[in-house]
């Protein structure tokens, strides 16, 4: 009898309850709303977890148009964290999530360390909220935000404040725009993060030839999508070697093959972002694809491939 392969992973081994997921496929913040919008179409309940839109203390209107610009295999966005605010998340969304099988993590963004702490506090103990992802890296809002993710000290300060403010598992999301991502990762781990996710969008730009001006009012915007995958993969590979907490890979993941690359490069789980826009079932397809891959390769457990491509690891069954 062939047992179905085990896809489950633990994203907060150092947390008292842990954050066990049925499979390592999450949806990335800002690309899957509150999980409710796609619910009819993609079977969200089968995913490892859903991460909701970046949430601030007060509702935000975000940036003016234009907010999106397509590039070759990529997307520049300057949404500016438009969201309904944490109170509405607790009152309207968490209530729905509480009835779901799939865990939902709330992505939080503050302008000060204290705001991060208050966000975490507000979410603490709310039924339907399985954890927080701390966005210290959104490039589309004013200086305060991006600065946290850029330097190890500020990133650590935010992490410490959030971990102290909540009993929930804390995933910290890193910015690829930091001068030294690995240093930030180490600092965030030392400050108590239960897991790290990366990457957020990469600073990019486009010019509107007709107006002869940057497309975006803020000039720069955040690049995501398949275009960034090689860069994201390199950063995950570097960070996975530098920390012991689970690393969640993000950046251009659209297919099972993409997800496998991140897992082999040391990610314990992955998030599917921009790819959902072209294929709302992308994340669910990856869940199926990972199971099929393990079966085909005669592997029992997703951990058999996690990190196999890291230096010094001998790939079991891999053809070398």
């Amino acid at each position: 009898m062939i047992l179905p392969p085990n896809l489950s992973v633990e994203l907060a081994p150092n947390h008292k309850q842990g954050l066990p997921l049925r499979n390592p496929v999450l949806t990335a913040s800002g690309t899957f709303g509150y999980g409710t919008e796609y619910a009819a179409l993609a079977d969200c309940q089968r995913l490892g977890a859903i991460i909701c839109k970046g949430t601030t203390l007060e509702p935000r209107e975000g940036n003016p148009q234009p907010r999106l610009h397509e590039t070759a295999a990529g997307l520049l966005n300057s949404i500016g964290l438009q969201n309904i605010g944490v109170r509405a998340v607790v009152a309207e969304k968490a209530r729905i999530w509480a009835g779901w099988q799939v865990p939902v993590l709330v992505n939080i963004a503050g302008e000060t360390v204290d705001e991060f702490a208050r966000l975490a506090e507000t979410l603490d103990g709310v039924p339907g909220v399985a954890g927080v992802e701390v966005n210290i890296s959104c490039p589309n809002v004013d200086a305060g935000y991006v600065a946290f993710g850029a330097r190890p000290e500020t990133a650590a300060a935010v992490t410490r404040a959030v971990v102290q403010a909540t009993d929930l598992p804390v995933m910290v999301k890193l910015s690829p725009n930091a001068p030294d991502v690995v240093e930030v990762a180490r600092a965030v781990e030392a400050a108590g993060a239960h897991s790290l996710s990366l990457i957020n969008t990469i600073l990019g730009m486009a010019i509107d030839l007709r107006r002869r001006r940057p497309v975006f009012a803020r000039a720069t915007a955040g690049l995501s999508g398949p275009a960034v995958k090689p860069i994201a993969l390199r950063l995950v590979y570097e960070v996975a070697q530098a920390v012991r907490v689970p690393v969640v890979g993000i950046g251009g993941i659209a297919t099972t093959e993409d997800a496998l690359e991140f897992l082999m490069a040391g990610a314990t789980a992955v998030q599917v972002g921009t790819a959902s826009f072209a294929n709302p079932r992308a994340a669910a397809d990856v869940v199926d694809g990972l199971a099929a891959f393990l079966l085909r390769e005669g592997l029992q457990d997703i951990h058999d491939i996690i990190g196999v491509a890291l230096p010094g690891r001998v790939p079991e069954g891999g053809l070398t």
Binding site: K53, Q65, H69, E70, A73, N77, Q82, F277
Partner: protein, 262 residues
Amino acid sequence: MIQARFPIVARDELAPGTVLLRLRAPALARAARAGQFVHVRCGDSHDPLLRRPISLHRVGVAGADRGGLQPDEVALLLQVVGRGSAWLAQRRLGDELDVLGPLGRGFRPEPKAGHLLLVGGGLGVAPLVMLADEAVRAGLAVTLAMGTRTAAGVFPARLLPEEVEYAVATEDGSLGQKGLVTDLLPALLPWSDQVFACGPWPMLRALRRLLQLTPAKRAQVSLEERMGCGVGVCYGCVVETRHGRRRVCHDGPVFNLDDVVL
């Protein structure tokens, strides 16, 4: 909302760069309402990356002639403006399109409206034809006013239900009245109970100015914005409304004209 691949069963070039596609898409045809749209993949690769929003132009209904559409068919009216629309326009019979839809909130005629005035600027006529189809079937009176630059861009009268009163304006005077579509409205507005419009922003602004003179007339407009997801998750497609920034794909594309900050 469904996502599926539907085959192209007819393809008609109405004018250079304007293509009418018919898809056999039963599930879509059943669910679709006038004013909604579909989000269509343009290629099999990551470039272009995003789907493109296209209005539902018509759906076939048994026993009703809708420009020759068979039941279970859905029609899209396309204008080539860039890579995505060019790719779509180049598809051939039998090719399948990857379609996500129907999406958004469509037109909502008021129950007491007996005479609808539809105002289309250029390809803005696309979703209005479906509204005309439905209104005629419901026994309402329909006037469609359409304006374009030149005769080639005018939606063919032969494709409209014959019950529809059709008024045309072209900027160069090559067909119908010379001028803008909004020049047609003073004569048409008095007879209408409700107005539905789709077209460029200047047209919508002109419409609002006209309506300010007859404040009782209510108007709904279908708006366009660049889209990412098409389903309300990315907040890429917002427009300014009196209630804040709203998503065209989810809260629209049809809005009350009064609510929109033009």
